[in-house]
């Protein structure tokens, strides 16, 4: 790991050099987790995986923009980098991929990446798109009622904005000027459906006007821009300035999930061209230019991350699966009824 940079550069407000390197590390760690997940799927070891490749910068930027341990996040199923940046460990990630009994998020009940980590302030979600957005608004309402200085961040894809519940959530948040920040990770596709068939407008952010608050677009392949814009929104919300809709423009590098094949609706050229937008080499360059990452640091961080992922994979795979009786836990507070 590089020591503090020789040349003093001005860092983004609120981020130390260590934090910046940590952001980079989390992006790499996520990438390796995602790659491992796809590999495990190909090996027939897990039936399903989804990758956030192309979204890492948007997510890590968002994670660092909030006050950890204070603010809450209601993520969506593509928010692996967000979760890892908020402290979800590779072991925890692998437990959910293998659907082990000890899976922290759901005890092996939900698809992978459906985080639920109360102690790291990550709320539970289902696979039902957009159903979580009102939950974030309700959490914000609760915090405001109790006069706690907490901001809730809710993430979703651009496809989710078509659901009626999305509209209802933003409408309520606007009326009550709640401390909530909506982050749309716009990757231009909802499975195979391109944005032009999802909405008649180029920018999701433009819809914020209809709810009486502002919408901001940012380059979601750049963690620093995303960080800056989300942080501003978060602190405005905390100060009583109401919600913001942030649209982080990013892209989806992989097929929607391992069950999808994007070649059925995207050309190989289109997919190849996406590589130029990869947030990881870009952020690496940014850090290097500022002397925050030395010559061999990137490779070393990658090795470290790979070791973490390898260890976590082996460990998680060896953990026991749920037993039949686990089917009946957590139905009601008082146990199963019938």
């Amino acid at each position: 790991m590089a020591s503090e940079p020789k040349v003093r550069v001005s860092l983004p407000e609120g981020l130390t050099a260590d934090a910046l390197r940590e952001m980079y590390y989390r992006m790499v760690l996520t990438r390796l987790c995602d790659e491992r997940a796809f590999a495990l799927n190909r090996q027939g070891k897990i039936p399903f995986a989804a990758s956030c490749k192309g979204h890492e910068a948007a997510q890590v930027g968002t994670a660092y923009a909030i006050r950890r341990g204070t603010d809450w996040v209601v993520p969506y199923y593509r928010d692996t980098a967000l979760a890892l940046a908020l402290g979800v460990t590779p072991r925890e990630q692998m437990l959910c991929l293998f659907a082990r009994k000890a899976d922290l998020f759901s005890a092996g009940r939900q698809f992978p990446n459906h985080y639920s980590v109360p102690d790291r302030h990550i709320a539970t979600i289902s696979s039902i798109i957009a159903a979580h957005i009102t939950h974030g608004v309700g959490m914000a309402l609760a915090f405001r009622m109790r006069r706690e200085p907490v901001v809730t961040v809710v993430c979703f894809g651009e496809g989710a904005t078509s659901e009626g519940e999305w509209h209802e959530a933003l409408n309520f948040a606007g009326i009550h000027k709640l401390p909530v920040v909506f982050v749309c990770e716009n990757n231009e596709f909802a499975i195979s459906v391109p944005q032009r068939l999802q909405m008649a407008i180029p920018n999701v952010a433009d819809r914020a006007a209809g709810y009486g608050f502002s919408g901001v677009i940012c380059d979601g392949t750049d963690p620093i821009t995303t960080y800056t814009i989300v942080r501003e929104a978060v602190e405005r919300a905390r100060a009583g300035g109401g919600p913001t809709l942030v649209e982080a423009k990013c892209y989806r590098a992989m097929s929607h999930t391992t069950d999808d094949n994007q070649l059925t609706y995207r050309t190989p050229e289109e997919i190849e061209a996406l590589a130029a937008r990869d947030p990881i080499p870009r952020f690496e360059r940014w850090l290097r230019e500022r002397g925050l990452l030395g010559q061999d640091d990137a490779a070393e961080l990658r090795r470290k991350a790979q070791a973490e992922v390898d260890e976590a994979t082996d460990w998680a795979e060896a953990q026991p699966p749920p037993a039949e009786e686990d089917l009946y836990t957590h139905v009601y507070a008082s146990g199963p009824l019938s």
Binding site: W72, V74, D103, L104, F105, S106, A107, R109, Q110, H114, S116, V117, P118, A123, T124, S126, I128, A131, I133, T134, H135, G136, V137, G138, M139, A140, L141, A142, F143, R144, M145, R146, G164, E165, E168, A169, N171, F172, I175, T329, H330, V331, Y332, A333, S334, L337, S338
Partner: protein, 327 residues
């Protein structure tokens, strides 16, 4: 003990819990200055303020969804759906979300939420203000469902529902609101969720019912007493969990079962009650299990004639009991 209507009891229970627990709040359409369309929350806004009595936009999915979020964050929301007919837009939040939060998060989160809604017919509510929705939700594990019929049960069950750590759908039959009066104990009390009530003990026929029909069933039973037919009327009070024990005990005594509900017959709550008895008390039965229910048409119509044709009456219930007693 004071004599109250069902409506007053619902109001009193809400009021008492709001006063007792700062985590309890109300949200719904027209619950503010208007005090809810039945005037249940009249005066609440002045007393508890707009933070705890929230007049929401006209959007049921968000009424429930926002309440879920607040519940996950430690509050005890009471979400109101103005009429049960308008609960459909919130179906995703109730069935897909609230009911599964504890299970899907392996206990990481809970959802202590009450969804109150007036249901049922007999008030000239026409096609879209008369529905019974219990059969659309009672299949859903993770939810609880209360259907009180008396003022005391309305109070005691609503308090239990608010204090429950899981989501409870609380169905209030709107015809009972002002029609049904009864004694309600003073001060704090609860009625446990999951316990049926023997509304009228009897030995010849078991009549299982709930909501408004509990009263019609008791009326029917009283009508038959002079004929020497002694019907036992069970008021379920809670549909999920269902109090199997009370039903089975009664059938073991009477050997005959009639289920009565206003809701349509096919796939209604009576189906499960019948199935439980046909499975667990088959050898106790001396006669077929009968059901008196609403007809299998899409809805109760506006004209009085439709309402009368749709809703089981004490006379129809009495006729069914009589027939069953002689079968």
């Amino acid at each position: 003990m004071a004599v109250k209507t069902v409506l007053e009891s619902v109001r009193d229970a809400l009021h008492a819990e709001m006063a007792r627990d700062a985590r309890v709040f109300i949200m719904g359409e027209d619950v503010g200055p208007r005090g809810n369309v039945f005037l249940i929350t009249k005066g609440f806004l002045d007393e508890f303020g707009p933070q705890r009595v929230i007049d929401t936009p006209l959007a049921e999915a968000s009424i429930v969804g926002i309440a879920i979020g607040a519940a996950m964050a430690g509050m005890r929301p009471v979400a109101e759906i103005q009429f049960a007919d308008f609960i459909y837009p919130a179906y995703n939040q109730i069935v897909g979300e609230a009911a599964k939060i504890r299970y899907r998060s392996a206990g990481g989160f809970s959802c202590p939420l009450v969804i109150r809604t007036p249901y049922g017919g007999g008030v000239r509510g026409a096609l879209s203000h008369s529905v019974s929705v219990e059969a659309l939700f009672y299949h859903v594990p993770g939810l609880k469902m209360c259907v009180p019929s008396t003022p005391a049960d309305a109070y005691g069950l609503l308090v239990s529902a608010i204090r429950d750590d899981d989501p409870v759908l609380f169905l209030e039959h709107k015809r009972t609101y002002r029609l049904i009066k009864g004694e309600v104990p003073d001060g704090d009390f609860t009625v446990p969720i999951g316990k049926a009530d023997v509304a009228r003990p009897g030995k010849d026929v078991t009549v299982v019912s709930y909501g408004l029909m509990r009263h019609y069933a008791v009326e029917a039973a009283e009508k038959l007493a002079p004929e020497g037919i002694d019907a036992e009327v069970i008021d379920l009070r809670t549909i999920r969990p269902l109090d199997r024990a009370t039903i089975l005990t009664s059938v073991a005594k009477t050997h005959r079962l009639l289920v009565v509900h206003e809701d349509q017959k096919f796939g209604g709550v009576g189906a499960e009650v019948a199935a439980v008895v046909a499975e667990e008390a088959f050898f106790d039965l001396d006669a077929p299990i009968r059901r008196v229910c609403g007809p299998d048409v899409p809805a109760m119509g506006y004209a009085k004639e439709y309402e009368e044709a749709f809703m089981p009456s004490p006379e129809r219930i009495a006729a069914a009991i009589r027939e069953l007693a002689h079968e």
